[in-house]
C-alpha cells in the first residue's frame, strides 16, 4: 500500500530538502531514517457549526502531526496569517503561507447532521492546490478519532506508513489496592477500564490485530496465569495456567503464537504456545531464570532476560530456541539489564538498565550490539519500555513526578510527554498497532 507522492511541488514552495532520487519525479519520504527534514505545514482552525469549538480539532491535529515527527507545524500568527477561517482560507492567506515556505496546508469543518456530525478535512499544497479531502461522519464523542484518522491519512499520503494517531495503549492502573487493565488513546485521552477483578492484573500484550489482550492475572489464586480478553466479544479465557508463575506474555508479529515465561519446570523458562492455547514448545533450558521474551519484527528471533551469567542480562535466540547468545554484557552495559522490547522497525532493542545509583533507566542497543545509548536520564525509576508502531516513540512508566505514571519519549530523548494521571499508579504500557 505504499503510495508514492510527488514532493517536487513541495520543494518548490519551501526550503525543505528531501532525499530526492535523481531523475525520478515520484519520491518518498523515508520515514525510517533519522534526522529527515520536516515538512512545514499550516493547520487552520476548523470552521465549526456545532458545540465543539473549531480550535479543538485543529489542536488535536497539530499535536498528532508534531508527534509524527514528519511535520514542522507552523505558528500562523508569526507569519501574520489568521488561523480562524470561514469555510476555507482565502487566496491571500494561502499565498502568504506558501510564500512563508509552508508547503502543505490543512483545514476542516464540522457540520451537524441530525444527531451526528460530519467532519471534512482538506489537504492543500501551496504549489499544486488542493490534493484532496476526507469526509467523516459519527457522533460528537468521536471527533478526536476523526481528527486522528485525518492525521494518519496525511502521514500515509507523504510516507506510505500507517501513522500512530489511531493507536491505543493498554496499561495497568492501581485502584483501591488492586491492579486492573485499562486502555487509552495513544495521546492519553479516553481512558477505559477493562477489568474489575479486585486482584492483580499485569503485563498486558496486544495481539497484532488489536482484537485481543493477553495479560497476567492472579485472580484464581496464588499461581499467576496468562489470560486473554477478546475486545469484541468480552470473552475471557486462560491461555497459560501451569502450576507456578506464568508471566511476561508477548504475541508474535503474525499473531499466531504467544511467547511467555513459566516456572512449571522449577525455574523460569521461555515457552511459546499457538494462539489457541494448545500446542506448547519449550525454547530455553537452563537452570537460571529466563523470562520476558520479545519478538524481532520478522518473528525469526527473540530477545529475552536471563540471569545465567550471574546477573540479569539481555540475550538473543532464534525463534526455535537455538543459537542463544548474549547481547548485553556486565562489563559494558552494567550489571542489571532486563525487560527488552524489540522495535517494530528492527533497528533498536529498548530495555531497562540500572545505573550505579541502583536506579532503573531505559537504554537502547542495536541488535548487533554495535550501537548503544541511554534513552532516559534523571533520578526517577523508568521501566517497561513499549514501542510505537512507527518505531519513533517509546512509552514507559516513570516515577519522575513522585508517583508512577506512563510517559512517552522520542528515540532521540526529546519529546517527553506524560500520558496518565489518576489512580494510585499507572504502569506497564503496551502499544497497539495503528
Amino acid at each position: 500500500m505504499r503510495r508514492p507522492v510527488s514532493l517536487l511541488a513541495l520543494l518548490l514552495a519551501g526550503s525543505a530538502v528531501f532525499a530526492v532520487t535523481t531523475g525520478a519525479v515520484e519520491v518518498f519520504i523515508d520515514a525510517t531514517r533519522g534526522a529527515i527534514q520536516k515538512i512545514p505545514i499550516a493547520v487552520y482552525s476548523f470552521k465549526s457549526a456545532i458545540s465543539v469549538p473549531g480550535q479543538f480539532p485543529a489542536d488535536v491535529l497539530k499535536a498528532d502531526l508534531r508527534r509524527s515527527l514528519l511535520f514542522d507545524v507552523a505558528d500562523l500568527e508569526r507569519f501574520g496569517i489568521r488561523a480562524e477561517v470561514n469555510s476555507q482560507p482565502g487566496p491571500e492567506a494561502l499565498q502568504k503561507a506558501g510564500e512563508a515556505g509552508l508547503a502543505v496546508q490543512v483545514w476542516g469543518a464540522l457540520l451537524p447532521r441530525g444527531s451526528e456530525i460530519v467532519m471534512e478535512g482538506t489537504l492543500f499544497e501551496s504549489s499544486r492546490g488542493e490534493v484532496g479531502r476526507k469526509r467523516y461522519v459519527g457522533s460528537t464523542d468521536v471527533v478526536r478519532y476523526m481528527v486522528h484518522r485525518l492525521a494518519d491519512e496525511i502521514v500515509f499520503h507523504y510516507t506510505g506508513e500507517q501513522g500512530i494517531a489511531r493507536s491505543q495503549i493498554a496499561f495497568v492502573s492501581e485502584r483501591d489496592g488492586a491492579k486492573e487493565i485499562f486502555v487509552m488513546d495513544y495521546d492519553g485521552y479516553n481512558r477505559r477500564r477493562l477489568t474489575f477483578d479486585a486482584s492483580l492484573n499485569l503485563a498486558p500484550a496486544w495481539s497484532p490485530d488489536r482484537r485481543r489482550l493477553a495479560f497476567v492475572s492472579y485472580r484464581k489464586g496464588n499461581d499467576p496465569r496468562i489470560e486473554e480478553l477478546d475486545l469484541i466479544t468480552g470473552a475471557r479465557r486462560p491461555l497459560v495456567a501451569f502450576p507456578g508463575l506464568n508471566i511476561t506474555p508477548e504475541w508474535s508479529p503474525s499473531g499466531e503464537e504467544l511467547a511467555f515465561a513459566t516456572s512449571k519446570d522449577g525455574n523460569s523458562e521461555i515457552y511459546k504456545v499457538d494462539k489457541y492455547g494448545k500446542r506448547f514448545e519449550r525454547l530455553t533450558d537452563h537452570g537460571a531464570a529466563d523470562l520476558a521474551p520479545t519478538w524481532s519484527p520478522t518473528g525469526r528471533e527473540l530477545a529475552f532476560t536471563s540471569d545465567r551469567g550471574g546477573t540479569p542480562q539481555i540475550y538473543l535466540m532464534s525463534a526455535d530456541g537455538t543459537n542463544v547468545r548474549p547481547l548485553t554484557y556486565r562489563d559494558q552495559q552494567g550489571s542489571y539489564n532486563t525487560a527488552a522490547a524489540w522495535s517494530p522497525k528492527g533497528d533498536w532493542i529498548a530495555y531497562v538498565c540500572r545505573d550505579e545509583r541502583r536506579i532503573l533507566k531505559l537504554c537502547l542497543i542495536s541488535p548487533d550490539g554495535q550501537q548503544w545509548r541511554q534513552l532516559t536520564t534523571g533520578s526517577s525509576n523508568d521501566e517497561s519500555p513499549a514501542w510505537s508502531a512507527d518505531g519513533r516513540h517509546v512509552a514507559f512508566s516513570s516515577t519522575r513526578n513522585g508517583r508512577r505514571d506512563i510517559y512517552m519519549i522520542n528515540t532521540d530523548g526529546t519529546g517527553l510527554e506524560r500520558l496518565t494521571t489518576g489512580g494510585t499508579s499507572n504502569e506497564d504500557p503496551a502499544w497497539s498497532a495503528p
Partner: protein
C-alpha cells in the same frame, strides 16, 4: 456524553495533566458485558473489527467514512463470587515471621535461618497445616525480573524448611514488587519489601 464533556473542558488546551473522564463511563458498565457499537462485522479487513478501518487516501470527491470508538467498550465481567471467596481466603490466613533478604539476593541470611528454625518447630508440631510462601522484592529491580527473584526467595525458604524436617505441604508463589509493604524510596522501607512472607492456609 462523558467524552464530550471531557472534550469541551479540554478544548484549546492540550495539557496532559487534565485528563478527560471517560473512565466513569467505563465504570458504569462494570459487571455488564457491555454494549457493542453495532455496525457491520467482519468488514474491517485484516485488521479485524477492533483494529482501525484501513486508510482510504485523499480524494477530490471523498466518500463518507463512518468513525466509531476504536475498540468496543467491552469490559471483563466482574466475578463477585470469586472476589468474595478470595477475600474470605485472605482473611482466614495466619502469618508467621517474615524472612528478610539482602538487595538482589535470594540466599538466606543467618537471621533468616534462625527465624525459619522457629517456624519449623511450629510446623513440625502441626504437620497438617498447609503453608504458602510468598516472595516479595523492593522496587529497585525491574517488575519482570522481580517476579522470578521473589520466586527464588520463596523456593529457597521452602528448601530450608524441608532441610529442617518440615513435612507440611508447602507451596510457593511470587508477587515481585507488585504488593509492597511500604512505598517510601529509601532503605528504611526497601528492606521490609525484600521478604518471604509465610502464611498458614488452614487445616488440610
Amino acid at each position: 456524553m462523558f467524552a464530550l464533556v471531557g472534550i469541551l473542558a479540554l478544548g484549546g488546551c492540550a495539557k496532559k495533566n487534565m485528563m478527560s473522564s471517560t473512565e466513569s463511563g467505563g465504570k458504569a458498565q462494570a459487571g455488564a458485558a457491555a454494549t457493542t457499537e453495532g455496525g457491520p462485522s467482519g468488514s474491517g479487513g485484516s485488521m479485524g473489527e477492533s483494529g482501525s478501518a484501513p486508510l482510504q487516501g485523499f480524494s477530490k470527491s471523498p466518500s463518507e467514512e463512518a468513525v466509531k470508538s476504536p475498540t468496543p467498550p467491552m469490559v471483563a465481567k466482574a466475578d463477585t463470587a470469586e472476589i468474595a471467596a478470595r477475600q474470605a481466603r485472605e482473611a482466614a490466613k495466619r502469618q508467621l515471621t517474615d524472612i528478610y533478604f539482602a538487595y538482589d539476593k535470594w540466599a538466606l541470611s543467618n537471621e533468616g535461618m534462625k527465624n525459619l528454625a522457629q517456624n519449623a518447630d511450629l510446623l513440625r508440631q502441626n504437620p497438617t497445616v498447609k503453608i504458602l510462601i510468598e516472595g516479595h522484592c523492593d522496587e529497585r529491580g525491574s517488575r519482570e525480573y522481580n517476579m522470578v527473584l521473589g520466586e527464588k526467595r520463596a523456593q529457597e525458604t521452602r528448601r530450608y524448611l524441608e532441610s529442617l524436617g518440615v513435612k507440611n505441604t508447602v507451596t510457593v508463589t511470587s508477587y515481585g514488587k507488585e504488593r509492597p509493604m511500604c512505598t517510601e524510596t529509601d532503605e528504611s522501607c526497601y528492606w521490609k519489601n525484600r521478604r518471604a512472607h509465610l502464611v498458614l492456609e488452614g487445616e488440610r
